[in-house]
């Protein structure tokens, strides 16, 4: 199992941390139902490391912790 920490705007009634089985980050995105319009600009961090490209193909293993963080970086 892997755990996913959801930011508030993406919870939609779900708890902050949810668990699921998934072999890739692409499966996590599908399971979460946030494969959405391009404007939903969130990045994923796996065990604290931000993924900046090749997102869907990132391989996961049991115990991995995923966090969804805002992707923008201009302020």
């Amino acid at each position: 199992m892997i755990s996913v920490r959801l930011p508030e705007p993406l919870r939609n009634g779900r708890p902050e941390i949810i668990t699921m089985s998934a072999a890739t980050l692409g499966e996590v995105i599908d399971n979460l139902g946030i494969e959405s319009e391009r404007d939903e600009l969130y990045n994923f961090a796996v065990n604290g490391d931000l993924i900046l490209h090749g997102e869907k193909n990132v391989q996961l293993k049991s115990g991995d912790e995923i966090e969804i963080v805002v992707a923008f970086s201009g302020g």
Binding site: P7, P9, R38, D39, E40, L41, N43, F44, A45, G48, D49, L50, I51, L52, H53, G54, E55, K56, E67, V69, V70, A71, F72, S73, G74, G75
Partner: protein
């Protein structure tokens, strides 16, 4: 040629009548002789540079005498408002332009809040001030009249007291009745990292505009009333509604800017291992400064004139046992830049300390990017035993930092060194070797606290930005976005060419920087906020299509998307021509030594730094697609085109 002759010569070439509906005057003010001259920018100049930053550069090019010093009273200070400012949602911005006393290259700084809108609401598109009066002056503009008011009653006041005094003395409320641009004691004392305050927090920050305004003994410009005829050429409100809807439906606005403001950006930089820490010796810092930890101190959000976003967080430390309950218990901000510069960059990890320093800087009129960077630079030199100041500059020494800010505004003790900002070596405060640790380009310390050794488009942008090391001129922010990186077709469409999906690759990054530099320059010319301009925080925000439509509706000037993009290139071109006059060349389009020689030590891109040869090749490619020579100047044909507008 003296400034009076330059102004005379220029006015002869300007128009005497409005060139389009909603156009305001360009007003030349001789502070020494209390003389006011008025003209209009000719239509062919507007079609080449639009307004705001673009026309400011036209004016500076014509009025600058590079044989003088930036603080000489013959060097003008130019306020400009965007061509759409106050007329389109989120277009509330304007620029101030001059020759920077902090960097000795162009000074061009952008602010919002209310002052630029009140310029427009009073039919003033550009305000050119020069000369040094015997007495400090407050310029009071009301219903088209300019009054020279003796500023003696307000001298020595900082931002909080001054704004309160003006509301009392002129019987009005800022934002509702007037707009105000003013300096603090730091500006009066010619502190090079001081800005011009345009609100409680809004500041024309970069390049030392506060010092430049102080050199003209100009305490403030107060613009009161709403007397302009702003009837547009064509109805524009329906398109405005669409622009507002587009803004408010964008994810970054809905989920981040409206809720927390820019501090949400701290976390991704920290997690990437790219948060400038201890003068960029390190690149990650505590999660205690993540935006959600500021939530408890944020009572609400504020916004600029007629902007539906409201992205400016307020703060209130009432009840926090660690801070004195004085005038700094509440304030505006912080922005992400301030969190970074007064957090990790100087070794501070407590939210309440960052908020208090933010509130103090707002009152003292200090640019948090330059002041924070100057302190971080001093701290590293202290750490290395290269300097021996009268202040304990140990990383994270909060009490010393707070005291140092007040000393800086007054140029007292070691504050006099911080007040000289990036010029501390030139001024004889530090040994020449200290320059090895200065995180600056073209004399301007970095604005965004993000360490750009990983992101190569960001790095190139910082190197080529005409005003120095500042992200707001051309940052390819979306290179950090995985969904866009993983969609090459969409990315090609966004930037107009192939750009590598890998953030740390050099391939094609020049294409993205070129596209961003153009649209951001156009944004500054129309008066649109950077945060809500396409490509800065989202690919879905208003961009050229909306700008072209509203320029046509508001002014009657029809432009194509290609033409307005060319205006962005024109603005960059004239800025490079001015910088060339000031001695800038290819050697100055570079990065701090540390980024070439020291690697990132943490995170998924551990080991990353800037490769000199690959950077140089990328720079050459950038020049080539920017219609620039190998020295970074407009190609001869491009230069002739620009000169025909600048001098005709």
């Amino acid at each position: 040629m003296p400034i009076l002759e330059r102004v005379e010569s220029l006015i002869e070439r300007l128009a005497r009548e409005r060139q389009f509906p909603t156009q305001g005057q360009t007003i030349f003010i001789d502070l020494e002789h209390h003389e006011v001259r008025r003209a209009y920018i000719p239509r062919h100049v507007v079609e080449a540079f639009l307004g705001g930053r673009g026309v400011n550069m036209f004016l500076l090019h014509n009025l600058l005498d590079p044989s003088l010093d930036p603080l000489h009273p013959d060097i003008p200070l130019i306020f400009g408002t965007g061509i759409l400012t106050s007329l389109v949602p989120s277009a509330a911005r304007g620029n101030v332009t001059s020759w920077s006393p902090e960097t000795k290259v162009i000074l061009d700084s952008n602010a919002g809040d209310y002052f630029p809108s009140f310029m427009k609401l009073n039919a003033i598109d550009h305000l050119v001030v020069h000369g040094k009066p015997k007495m400090w002056t407050l310029l009071h503009c009301e219903d088209g009249e300019i009054n020279f008011v003796d500023a003696a009653p307000w001298m020595g006041m900082d931002n909080l007291d001054f704004r309160a005094a003006i509301e009392r003395d002129f019987r009005g409320q800022e934002g509702r009745d007037f707009g105000l641009a003013s300096i603090t004691t730091a500006g009066e004392n010619l502190v090079l990292c001081s800005g011009i305050m345009a609100g409680p927090k809004a500041i024309y920050a970069r390049g030392g505009p506060g010092a430049k305004m102080g050199s003209l003994r100009l305490k403030a410009v107060l613009i009161q009333g709403r007397s302009a005829d702003l009837t547009p050429a064509h109805p524009h409100k329906q398109r405005n509604r669409e622009v507002a809807e587009k803004l408010l439906n964008t994810s970054v606005v809905k989920n981040a800017l409206k809720k927390r403001g820019t501090p949400f950006l701290y976390k991704p930089s920290r997690m990437l291992g790219a948060m400038g820490t201890k003068n960029n010796q390190e690149t990650t810092w505590t999660d205690k400064l993540d935006a959600e930890n500021i939530d408890q101190y944020r009572p609400g959000m504020e916004g600029c004139f007629a902007c539906p976003v409201n992205c400016r967080p307020l703060n209130d430390l009432t009840g926090c046992e660690h801070v004195p309950h004085d005038q700094y218990i509440k304030g505006d901000g912080p922005e992400y830049v301030t969190v970074g510069k007064f957090g990790p960059n100087i070794g501070i990890s407590e939210v309440h300390q960052v908020l208090r320093l933010n509130n103090i800087c707002n009152d003292l009129g200090l640019d948090t990017a330059s002041a924070g960077s100057a302190i971080a630079w001093a701290m590293e030199l202290y750490q290395r035993g290269m300097i021996h100041p009268d202040v304990d500059l140990t990383w994270g020494n909060y009490d010393a930092i707070e005291r140092l800010l007040f000393m800086t505004a007054k140029r007292e003790g070691f504050g006099n060194v911080i007040a000289d900002s990036s010029r501390a070596v030139e001024m004889g405060h530090y040994p020449p070797e200290a320059l090895d640790y200065l995180m600056a380009v073209k004399g301007l310390t970095q604005s965004d606290p993000h360490d750009a050794r990983i992101l190569k488009a960001f790095a190139l942008g910082l190197a080529v930005a005409t005003r120095g090391m500042d992200h707001l001129r051309n940052r390819v922010t979306l290179e950090i976005n995985a969904k866009i990186n993983d969609d090459p077709g969409f990315k090609r469409e966004l930037y107009g060419g192939d750009v590598s999906a890998e953030p740390n690759s050099y391939d094609g990054k020049e294409v993205a920087v070129r596209r961003c530099e153009n649209i951001f320059a156009v944004g500054d010319a129309v008066g649109m906020c950077r945060f809500t301009t396409k490509l800065f925080n989202s690919p879905s925000l208003p961009g050229y299509e909306e700008f072209v439509d509203q320029v046509a509706n508001v002014t009657g000037i029809d432009l194509t998307v290609e033409q307005i993009d060319r205006i962005g290139l024109n603005i960059m071109g004239v800025e490079r021509m001015i910088n060339s006059e000031l001695g800038v060349s290819r050697k100055d389009d570079t990065l701090p030594k540390r980024w070439f020689e020291e690697s990132i030590g943490v995170g998924p891109y551990k080991g990353e730094k800037i490769d000199r040869q690959k950077f140089d090749d990328m720079l050459s490619r950038f020049y080539a697609i920017s219609n620039l020579t190998n020295e970074g100047l407009p190609q001869p044909e491009f230069r002739r085109e620009l000169e025909s507008v600048l001098t005709s």
